[in-house]
Amino acid sequence: MKKVLLACSSGMSTSLLVTKMQQHAASIGDEAKIWAVGQDQVGKEMEEADVILIGPQMRFLLDKLKAQTSKPVEVIDMMAYGTANGKAAYEQAIKLMG
């Protein structure tokens, strides 16, 4: 089970990407939990996740979150974000898991 947490200001725009990422994960037969939260929740939800991806508009959260966790944290690629490219974002998450 791969657990990917997405974070943005209120978890709205990242939730668009969540659906697309879930679809991609299902299509390649991966079992994954992918969910989106706002910045007020991310500290708590981080414990559940294997990897945390941040919406590019909130990229100023990166250093703060990195300081709070040893798990991989990265900003989602802008173009993948804008086009709701679930495949690209999911692959970014998998790569981070190593």
């Binding site: 709205m12 725009s13 910045q39 703060k64 802008m78 173009m79 804008g82 086009t83």
Partner: protein, 442 residues
Amino acid sequence: MSQDNKMFLLISKLLMPMATYLNNSRYLQVLRDAFMLAFPITMFGSIVVVIANLPFLDKFMSEGTLNAFKSSLGNAPSATMGIMSIFVVFGIGYYLSKSYNVEAVFGGAISLVSFLLLTPFLIEVEGMTEAVGNVLPLDRLGAKGMFLAMITGFLSGEIYRFVVQKNWTIKMPDGVPPAVAKSFSALVPALLTLTVFLLLNIGVTSLFNTNLHDVIFNVVQQPLVKLGNGLVPTLIAIFFVQLFWFFGLHGQVIVNSVMDPIWNTLSLENLNAYTATGEVPNIISKQFVEIYTVGLGGSGSTLAVIVAILLFLKSKQLKQIGKLSLGPGIFNVNEPVIFGLPIVMNPLIMIPWIVAPLITVTVTYFAMSTGLVPPPTGVAVPWTVPMFISGMMATNSLAGGLLQLVNFLIILAVWFPFLKFIDRLNLKKEQEEAANHKDEAV
């Protein structure tokens, strides 16, 4: 790399620390959380105010019934936004303590009491020579006390956590139940913090014959709020929202960190006045900024842009972005347009992106200052409510929704020539690509 790109990267580098500071600063974060705490509470009060002021009620109720109906609902706004400063001061004390990992609920309670210690338990009633004692003046717990609540929340929270962290607490021997020990551990910090505020109040009332409510209201709150109610400061704020977004940074989150105390206070003043008299004193408020910018398809009011793309443009790539963006755009989520079109660091789009909302905000301001459209009543409307509906809800009038449609057309007109130009460039590129494919096939 082009000249534009170099310059943009440089500006982006300059804005980044500002964004980081404003979003991640402990105090601004605590303030944001405290207002979030108050949000569902004000939402409840707002819904009741909307019900009490439904425009058709006077059609099937006599005046007496209507007044009785309204006054029976009156407790809802009074118990919520009427005493908003209480929730804010408690929230600040709570979240500040939490951010320092000290017992948060005590922090909240101590901040609340500190605020009350500075509050005169008196009201002056017109026509009476002596003030009425033994009462809490409701207005000081609402909009009027907002800035004192914020200042007191932070000061008392800081003193409390400082004392706790210094470990000036009474230690209980082993075997004392944890809950009992906990209540004692808050004792010294509470006594010290509250003493400071009691002495402060004694000092101000006896030496200067006034109280901190009046001082902060007149010296800090009133001037700031008056300034915030002007067109020019609002345009500056909107300019920065757009500028941050242009560099792909969440403009609202950053700018609101600074402006929310002022905008929320203006909203609260509006709502209190509206509930009491039906009149709205301030044009600018949280709802003005939200409903007439974000409310038109997201930051930068991009629903018009999506519609223009879908109706008038031909490029495949743009059409695809338009289709993807329409659904979220109706509910004012527009990251797909911002990052997909893209708007971010796109020199061809910088002008309409920044100029269009400045025009619509100005138009909206004058539509309201001339009385053509009523200003938002202060009723909380979630920012995800679609255009037209949100405008009507916020102003309790059809005109408020129509004004959004006018703004929509203005945005469309400002963007159109720029979109057309991008469309032409894209079409040319797409045709070239198609031709290349053909060549390869041969």
